[in-house]
Amino acid sequence: MTFRDILGFVIDLDLLDRYGWRFLEGIGVTAQLVAISFTLGGALGLLLALARLSDKGPLRWLTGAYIYFFRGSPLLAQLFLLYYGLGSLRAFWTDLGLWWFFREAWSCALLAFTLNTAAYQAEIFRGAIRSVPRGQREAAAALGMHRAVTFAKVIFPQAMIVCLRPLGNELILMIKASAIASLVTIYDLMGVTKLAFSRSYDFELYLWAAVLYLLIVECIRRLWAVLERRLTRHLRAGDLPQPAQRNGLSRVTKTALKPNAQ
């Protein structure tokens, strides 16, 4: 019995032959779209967070308004505004020499996702930066460190530990939200699924899509666990390996040694 036969028990092989490759391409498109927009959004988000924490009023106010808008309106509306709204100003973009950018659904979606995730990531960064105790900054200042160095060497690494998990959440949300790219002609995982479904009317395809999204999210979950271990390695530096015989003891013995431990 070949691997293919075994696979045949679980999924429809005919569908797999017809749409398998397209699904793989779809995963690639989704992954690219999210990876690029999440990274660019992170860079923009960090800048926004710094502006939001700045002591200059207008800067705080402007970034506040930006974050308010992009967190407060649906991503779908933002994408349509960019794609159909700004896309209808062809003459204007041609004059500016930017029509090549707004012509493509891909770059419009990328821009919309970047702007949207930047707003969320800015708030995550802001919270994380503020969670670093004030004393750290004061201590660095007392040592005569420059503000930029203080941020890069003292504040940011500690803030990263705090914001890693929320950022992972945001990434997972982005992956699922990226399905709306299929509404502006992009063949991402969802777009491919809808295309295949429109031909075969087989609900199994949506199940494939769900499982594939789940797999992507699982990969991220594992990657994040690795990242967290790496970022917090200094916190565990003092931990000694557990004495071996401790684990070998039976429950009864442990209770006998420490009668109050439950």
């Binding site: 062809r90 029509w99 002609t185």
Partner: protein, 253 residues
């Protein structure tokens, strides 16, 4: 709280038993609402158009009360199969692929596929050779989408599929697309209105004359017969002509 849930449950049960009743006094018909002149939304968000007028005429002939609901195109057939409604009157082309899932009545109009292009377009005709390297738009899950993908796409065009016809038209108008494939009369209507400044008709695609029918579930044989009889009746007694003249200057039956 408990009683409210119980009441809701009874309501749901009552509704399902109602729709499964054999001799229907009331049927629910779905249309799309983004495919003028056949179906579209008026300013009060009510469905209107050729499909809607035909539906009302047919229901009057069959002497049943019809409720017309709007449904997104992509979910049309799955929703019919899930018994969300009993029939689809939404300019759905009768195809072999769809017939595997659902059944169709006799046709209620015929249309070829056509191509619209920007006014300054360099595309000469609708042959596959002329579409090489062009981006061609169409509404997804339609016969024109299959044509854009399988015929033009295989010849080197880039097929872009949209949830509604309106969105494909918008992208033709703002220059993202080099051509749009759709049912002829839909493009004619659009070129008379919103699209008249930007675009023009390139021509019909040869060999694509197809029939639009009313979609129903395979097991509803009785409903199919009643629809077929009603279609014959409205064509025979001139009701069809009267409705048609509201939208078209030529015969589309």
């Amino acid at each position: 709280m408990y009683k409210a849930i119980l009441a809701a449950g009874i309501c749901v049960l009552a509704m399902t038993s109602l729709t499964s009743a054999q001799e229907k006094k009331e049927i629910v018909v779905a249309s799309e609402g983004a495919y003028p002149p056949f179906n579209s939304m008026d300013s009060n968000n009510k469905l209107q158009g050729f499909d809607i007028d035909i539906t009302n005429a047919l229901c009057e002939k069959m002497q049943v009360k019809c409720t017309i609901v709007a449904q997104d195109w992509d979910g049309m057939i799955p929703a019919l199969l899930a018994k969300k409604f009993d029939a689809i009157v939404a300019s759905m082309t009768i195809t072999e692929e769809r017939k595997k899932q659902i059944d169709f009545t006799d046709r209620y109009y015929r249309t070829p596929l056509s191509v619209a292009v920007p006014k300054d377009s360099k595309i000469k005709d609708t042959t596959t050779a002329s579409m090489k390297g062009m981006s061609v738009g169409a509404q997804s899950s339609t016969t024109q989408a299959i044509h854009a993908e399988e015929v033009y796409g295989k010849a080197g065009a880039e097929a872009k599929l949209y949830p509604t016809q309106d969105e494909a038209n918008a992208d033709l108008a703002n220059g993202r697309l080099d051509a749009v494939v759709s049912d002829k009369f839909v493009l004619v209507e659009w070129l008379k209105n919103a699209g008249k400044d930007c675009c023009k008709m390139l021509g019909d695609i040869e060999g694509t004359m197809s029939e639009a029918g009313i979609a129903i579930r395979k097991e509803d044989k009785d409903l199919k017969e009643r629809f077929n009889k009603a279609i014959k009746d409205i064509v025979a007694d001139g009701t069809y002509k009267k409705i048609q003249s509201k939208y078209f200057e030529f015969d589309i039956y």
